[in-house]
Symmetry: C2
C-alpha cells in the first residue's frame, strides 16, 4: 500500500478558506472556495499522505502478498442520520463504521474507503470540521484509509445539514462462502452484545423520548472483532450487522435468503435496562431497534465455543452470547421463544418506525 | 468477472411494491417497503445476475489476466443536479458517466460502480424508475456494472427529489503516470470537442435563460475514447474532464498541480453557436461552463497526431483539436491568446456561477 493516492478533485490549489463560519453555495462551485474547503477541512482531517491529492480518482497498489486468491469487496452506504450528533457518536463516525462493518460482514478486511459529502448551505464549518475529525478517528480505529472524496453543496432547505456517502473496499481470503444465503441446519446464532442502544440514543438526542435516557450509541468498527472470529473458525456461514430494522429484520432477511427457520430465545438477548425501559414507554420492541456496533454470526455448532472465546477477548464482543439456532429448512420464518416458553413469529419491520436512524 | 455479486441489502425478500406513486418514509425503513422498492426498481433496472443480491457488500473476482502489474482505481462523486431531467440526459445518466469519466481520467479501465441514493419523501416512483433505467443504459454504453447500492429516504423538504452518489472502481495498466501533476514543458493540449453544452442545457431546463436554447447536454461515458487514446500513445501525461468550473478552472488546476504556464488559443476552442449566444446574453464565458462528455489531454508533441487520429475515429472525439500548449515551468498560470492576438490571464472560478450543475 505504498502507492495509494487520496483523491479530492481540486485539492491542489493552496487557497485560504475565507468563509469559515457557514457553508455557502460557493463551496460547491468546484472553484476556489471548494479548493479551500477541501484543503482546510478534509485533507487536514484525513491526513492521507499523497503526492497528488487533486486527481479524479485514487490509485491503489495492493501489496503483492494480498493479491493471490483474494477477492475484492466493495460496499456503499449513504448516511442521513438526524440529528448529526448524538450520545456516543455523530454522522461521521457512523458513516465510517457503517461501511467498515458492511465490508467486514462479507468476511473481508476493509482497506480503503471513499466519502462523498452533500452539504447544505448554512451548515456551520465547525460542525463539518468536527464530523471530518470524527471520521478520521473512526478510520484510525478501524485501520482503514479514506482515499477518495467529493463534495457538493445544495441550497438551504435542500438537505438537512449534511449527508455522507461512504464506499468501502476490502479483500477477502476466507476459504468458504460467507453471506445471508449460507445458513445451515443446526447452525448456532451468536449475537455480539446488547441491542437497541443506537436507536434509543438517536431518539434521545432528538428529544423525542420525553425523558432523559442514559443510553449511548454503540457505533463502532467491527472489523477487528470479525478478524478474530475468522481466524478462530472456518465454519462461519453468515455475518450480518443488525442496523436499520434491528435484530428481527436482519434475522428475517437471513431466513429468507437461506430458506431456513430460525428460533431465538427472548431471555438470551442482552438488552440494557435503560434501553428496555425506554422501549416499554415508547411501545417499541428492542429487537426492531437499530444497532451500529453489533453483529450476528451463524456458525457450526462444533466451532461455537472457539468463536465465542475469540469474541470475548475483544472489547466489542465481550458480551457475545448464543441466542438461537437454525432449526428447519424451507420455512423462512423467525420464531421467538418467549420467557414463558411460548413461541411467536417475529416478522420483518413494515413501514418506518424510526426514520433517519443511520 | 465470473463471481461478482450485486449488493443491495434487503434485496432478497420477494415483496410486492405497494406504494407505486410516491416515495414515502417507509421506503427507507430497511423493512418490507425497502425490499420491495429495491427489487422492483433497482434490481430490475441494473439487471446484474447474482446468486445473493441481499448481502452487505459486493465480492469481485477479477480475471487473473487483469491482475499482474495492475493498479486499482477508486473514485467517488455525489450528484445533485437540478432539475433531475434536462435536454440530453438526467441525474442518473450524469451519475454513471461522471464516475466512469473520473476513473477513466486516471488512465484506468472502469469495471464496477456502486450507487447510493438519497431519496426525498414524495419523489414520484415513475421518475425514479426512469432514472434507474437511464443509469443502466449509461452503464451498458460504458460497459461497466453497477454492483452495490444503498437507499436512504429523507423527509419532504430535506432533499430535492433525489441525490445519487456513485463510486467507481477500475484497473490501470498504463506504463507511465497520468495525472494533473505530470504536465511537461512542450506538451500539446487537446480538447475532445465543443464546450459548454451541459451547463447551458441544464440552465435551459431550469427556465432560467428566458429564451429557448437549442442545446443538449453532452453527458457521455468517455472510457472507450480514453481506451483508444491510451492504446495510441504512451505519452499521455494528463487527462481531465472539465466539469464544474469548466475548461478554465480545470486548466488552472493542472497549471497549479504541475507548476507550469499554459497558453490556449481562444479561436481554437470549439463552441456551438447556440451555446455562444446563450453565454453572451447571460454574461457567461463558455470556458467556465460545465461539460460532462469532454476531456482535455496533455500529450507529447511527437504523439499528438497519433492521438488525434485515434480520437477522431470515436464519435465522442470526432471534433478533437489542439487548443494550446505548455510553455513555461514554474509560473502556474493559464493564458488565453485572444482572437485579436492579445493575451489575458484566465483565473479559476471564484464562488458559484451555476449551482447544482452536476
Amino acid at each position: 500500500m505504498d502507492n495509494q493516492v487520496i483523491s479530492f478533485p481540486g485539492a491542489n490549489c493552496p487557497i485560504p478558506l475565507t468563509h469559515k463560519d457557514q457553508i455557502v453555495m460557493g463551496h460547491g462551485s468546484g472553484g476556489k472556495m471548494t479548493h479551500a474547503l477541501i484543503q482546510d477541512i478534509f485533507l487536514q482531517a484525513f491526513k492521507n499522505p499523497s503526492p497528488n491529492p487533486g486527481d479524479d480518482g485514487a490509485v491503489i497498489s495492493l501489496p503483492e502478498r494480498l493479491m493471490p486468491f483474494q477477492r475484492l469487496v466493495l460496499s456503499t452506504d449513504s448516511h442521513v442520520v438526524s440529528p448529526l450528533f448524538f450520545p456516543g457518536g455523530d454522522i461521521g463516525r457512523l458513516a465510517v463504521c457503517g461501511t467498515v462493518n458492511d465490508v467486514s460482514m462479507m468476511g473481508a478486511i476493509p482497506l480503503f474507503m471513499t466519502a462523498g459529502f452533500i452539504l447544505e448551505e448554512g451548515l456551520e464549518i465547525s460542525k463539518l470540521q468536527q464530523i471530518a475529525n470524527s471520521m478520521q478517528t473512526a478510520a484510525e480505529e478501524a485501520g482503514i484509509q479514506i482515499i477518495a472524496g467529493d463534495t457538493k453543496v445544495v441550497q438551504r432547505g435542500k438537505a438537512d445539514g449534511l449527508y455522507i456517502n461512504t464506499t468501502g473496499f476490502g479483500v477477502r481470503n476466507y476459504p468458504n462462502e460467507i453471506g445471508g444465503a449460507f445458513a445451515r441446519l443446526g447452525d448456532k446464532i451468536i449475537l455480539s452484545g446488547f441491542i437497541g442502544d443506537h436507536g434509543i440514543a438517536v431518539l434521545s438526542a432528538r428529544g423525542e423520548l420525553g425523558f432523559a435516557a442514559d443510553v449511548a450509541s454503540d457505533v463502532a468498527p467491527l472489523n477487528h472483532l470479525v478478524g478474530s472470529m475468522l481466524a478462530a473458525s472456518q465454519e462461519i456461514h453468515v455475518l450480518r450487522d443488525p442496523t436499520r430494522g434491528g435484530l428481527a429484520t436482519t434475522l428475517n432477511e437471513i431466513a429468507q435468503q437461506s430458506g431456513v427457520r430460525i428460533t431465538i430465545n427472548e431471555t438470551s438477548i442482552p438488552v440494557h435496562p435503560s434501553v428496555q425501559s425506554a422501549c416499554e414507554i415508547l411501545g417499541f420492541d428492542p429487537i426492531y431497534v437499530a444497532n451500529e456496533g453489533k453483529l450476528i454470526a451463524f456458525v457450526s455448532p462444533a466451532d461455537t465455543d472457539n468463536i465465542l472465546t475469540a469474541m470475548h477477548s475483544d472489547i466489542l464482543g465481550k458480551d457475545a452470547v448464543v441466542i438461537g439456532e437454525v432449526e428447519e429448512k424451507a420455512s423462512s420464518r423467525v420464531l421467538l421463544r418467549t420467557s414463558i416458553g411460548t413461541h411467536r413469529v417475529i416478522g420483518i419491520l413494515s413501514g418506518e418506525m424510526l426514520p433517519r436512524i443511520c
